[in-house]
């Protein structure tokens, strides 16, 4: 990548362009080898200009040899062929350390690379709140092969031309300039939208055939054309506290349901709809009780009060469990030991298996490390590949005897690597040791699901948040967040939503698409030994295709009603009472209210139509059907549910007119 030829910087007071040259050079130990803004008041940015346009695919930021208050915590990168027209290529931040970071930049439109000549880096926040921004070193990577770039520029220019014409076509059609529309369309041979939608336009806007329009939409919905729109909608969380119906107890003196705990383990058998829960810490001691919860009958069953007594593992917390729903077996490994209990003879990692059908525990091995497996660990992760009958254990912190380390205050932390256990052959294999590239972790959690992955609560001073990661689009979304910390707030809300916590357990039933949450540590300083025993279900919902279809049909009928009411109010009233009413969910207060307000249209009143687009004072289309613009509005609304690749451009030509 050739060096940038030129640069500009924006600084409110001084133009310190001399310092900008410093970003060409990577000298991590030199405090002056950087560009610094003169203040942290916006806007602060620097613009890099390439000698020739290129396809810029990634950027590398070098850093100072230590953490630094001026490092960029948040910044944006824009790029384009001209300084005036740039689009956002990246939005993120740097870690405050000494390690250079590379980021992928957006470099494609609809799968085609586009070239940039200008790159603008705009710092938004430094790690030290009041400090100015510094950039130490920048490298831009990509493709500057002129043949490739020229090819992309051609494509990009063609693309822009095409989009400009489509915007014109949309505008002409919306305003009723049919001849101009036809002329432009034929001359350029550019299609505004998918032919099906043009057909819909004719049916709805030109012909005003609402019935046919409804049939069209219904068919489109049935053929799944709204699926993409639905998949782009945000999930809505719905928490429900679970009250178990009753409990079958082996002896009547025991509790009907599990007691409070944190650091326990839950796993789910989606085939039998049963959740299993074992162990944990109740604030005072480790637990050894083992429970199952049958979801359909809402019943807790205590499988064992003391698994050690029943030939299974001793009381423990911070262990891990995984379930084979075909063989009906549960495996558990690892646990936490208080520092005072870590004598060398007690540091063997025991490995147990529970057979669900026979209610039997099997002590697989008392020392996995001796068998080539991990040492005694806690806060690791364990998953099972049922098809290949292999268990994977990753990470976690290794428990070591304090006497073996010199510094007993803060012993060096050893993390465990990646191991596999082949069940049929009873063999452990070390797949990968802990190393910088793999970076073993503790206390994280993953639930794998075809399509989406979920990460449990982020530990942020005990606040609740639930994030969803879209694997395909590489995008995180926070779909539930409750950052309230007031005691009063949670006193009122504790039966509506789970109070903030950590060390809880969350399992996912991918068949019924529901999460289940039990217990945890609320992290109350005033009650450090308090643990929770509440049980919740979480359903993440999006609008269904049935719901969407009904709403579309409602919109169509509503518009038809409005047209009829301007001519024959009596007929319109009947229509409203039957056809429109059928498309309203009368249990929904908002929908009911909107429906009731429609009645006002039955009474003649000078032009009160809240759906009409505010058009120019002197309307250019005088000789057009008065219903035309309303129908156009409806058309625009309906096509928004179709995939973007099928529809007209979302923007409007009038909106691109700059206001001076």
């Amino acid at each position: 990548m050739p060096r940038q030829a030129d640069y500009r910087t924006c600084s409110q007071l001084l133009r310190n362009s001399s310092k900008l040259g410093n970003i060409y050079v990577d000298r991590p130990s030199d405090q002056s080898s950087r560009w610094s803004s003169d203040s942290n008041n916006p806007p602060q940015f620097l613009i890099l200009r390439l000698e020739k346009p290129a396809i810029v695919t990634s950027v590398l930021f070098g850093k100072y040899e230590k953490t630094h208050v001026c490092n960029l915590r948040k910044f944006k990168i824009h790029g384009g062929l001209t300084e005036d027209h740039m689009i956002e290529l990246f939005d993120g931040g740097l870690k405050n350390d000494h390690i250079p970071e590379t980021f992928l930049l957006r470099h494609e439109i609809e799968g085609n690379p586009f070239p940039c000549r200008y790159i603008r880096i705009e710092p938004l926040q430094a790690w030290g709140t009041n400090f100015n921004f510094s950039i130490w070193y920048v490298e831009l990577h990509g493709n500057n092969n002129w043949d490739d770039v020229k090819h992309c520029m051609n494509w990009y220019n063609t693309y822009r031309e095409k989009e400009a014409i489509r915007l014109c076509l949309k505008h002409f059609r919306q305003r009723g300039y049919t001849e101009a529309f036809r002329e432009l369309s034929t001359k350029t041979k550019i299609t505004l939208e998918h032919p099906l939608l043009t057909q819909l336009h004719t049916v709805l806007v030109t012909n005003g055939d609402f019935k046919a329009c409804e049939q069209f939409i219904t068919q489109a919905s049935n053929e799944g054309m709204f699926d993409q729109y639905i998949s782009q909608q945000e999930y809505k969380p719905e928490w429900t506290p679970i009250e178990p119906v009753n409990a079958k107890k082996p002896d009547s003196s025991s509790d009907a349901r599990p007691g409070m705990r944190g650091g326990h383990q839950m796993c789910i058998d989606v085939l039998t709809e049963t959740i299993y829960m074992f162990g944990g810490w109740d604030g005072n001691r480790d637990l050894a009780d083992f429970w199952s919860y049958h979801l359909p009958s809402q019943t807790w069953v205590c499988l064992s009060h003391d698994t050690e007594r029943d030939g299974g593992p001793s009381a423990r917390s911070c262990h891990k469990m995984c379930l084979d729903y075909e063989k009906k077996q549960i495996f558990t490994l690892g646990r936490y030991l208080d520092p005072s209990m870590r004598s060398p003879d007690r540091l063997k990692c025991d490995f147990h298996m529970y057979d669900i059908d026979s209610h039997q525990w099997t002590f697989i091995t008392e020392d996995t490390a001796a068998m080539g497996g991990p040492r005694l660990i806690f806060d690791h992760q364990m998953v099972i590949d049922i098809e290949h009958q292999t268990i994977y254990v990753f990470g976690g912190r290794v428990l070591t005897s304090p006497s073996s380390s010199d510094n007993d205050r803060t012993p060096e932390m050893i993390f465990s690597g990646l191991y596999s256990f082949h069940i049929p052959s009873n063999t452990w294999t070390l797949l990968m040791d802990d190393c910088p590239t793999l970076r073993s972790r503790i206390g994280h959690s993953m639930l794998f699901h075809p399509g989406l992955s979920r990460d449990k609560e982020k530990r942020d001073n005990v606040k609740n948040s639930f994030w969803v990661y879209d694997i395909l689009n590489d995008k995180w979304s926070c779909i539930y967040k409750n950052e309230n910390v007031g005691q009063n707030y949670w006193l009122k809300m504790q039966h509506v939503e789970p109070v903030p916590r950590f060390a809880h357990q969350l399992v996912y039933d991918h068949v019924r698409k529901t999460h289940y949450l039990f217990g945890g540590n609320p992290g109350k300083d005033s009650l450090p030994r308090l643990r929770l025993d509440d049980f919740w279900s979480l359903k993440l919902s999006r609008p269904s295709s049935d719901y969407l279809l009904r709403r579309c049909r409602y919109l169509i009928r509503k518009h038809q009603f409005l047209e009829i009411s301007s001519q024959t109010p009596m007929k319109a009233m009947t229509y409203l009472q039957h056809e429109v009413a059928n498309m309203v969910d009368h249990n929904d207060p908002e929908e009911t209210k909107e429906f009731q307000l429609l009645t006002s249209s039955l009474f003649p009143c000078p032009s009160i139509d809240d759906d009409a687009e505010p058009s120019g004072a002197d309307r250019v289309l005088q000789d057009v059907d008065p219903n035309f613009s309303q129908r156009t509005n409806l058309f625009d609304k309906l096509v928004a549910f179709f995939p973007e690749s099928m529809t007209q451009p979302k923007d409007n030509l009038v909106d691109l007119v700059p206001l001076s």
Partner: protein
Amino acid sequence: MMVLTNLHPSFGKKAVYILDCAVCYQTVCRRGMLAVLVADGKTELFSTDKCDRSAVGVIPEIFWAKSCWCKIQSLACLSCGAVVGYHVILPCVKCLKAVNNGHRCMFHNKFVSHCYRLDEEGGDFLLWKHLKPHDEDNLLSRECLR
């Protein structure tokens, strides 16, 4: 404007308090000590050895304390902005000479609510002599979260 303990200089036997902002209930301090102002010998307030910069922010304006020549800055709850106390940036000679607990960070009685902090094991009140140094005293930096 330093603080003096009520009865004796053995600060270790004093209980550790949790202080919450009186306006929004956000915890502003987990290591408070009940103390009395050196300057007037009677105003009761809470002091701490290190203010939690993730919970309280410093208001830059510097001014003199009411009853002495200490230079102070106000502290406010980061969550709602309510002033909860102040910290001493330059103690005056009079206060320095007097017996004090060395704390520079204070919370007004009226602007925070308080409760005792319990220790992790015995279920007893946590005393200052058992309190871990502030860089180790973090709820979530425990070895094992359970």
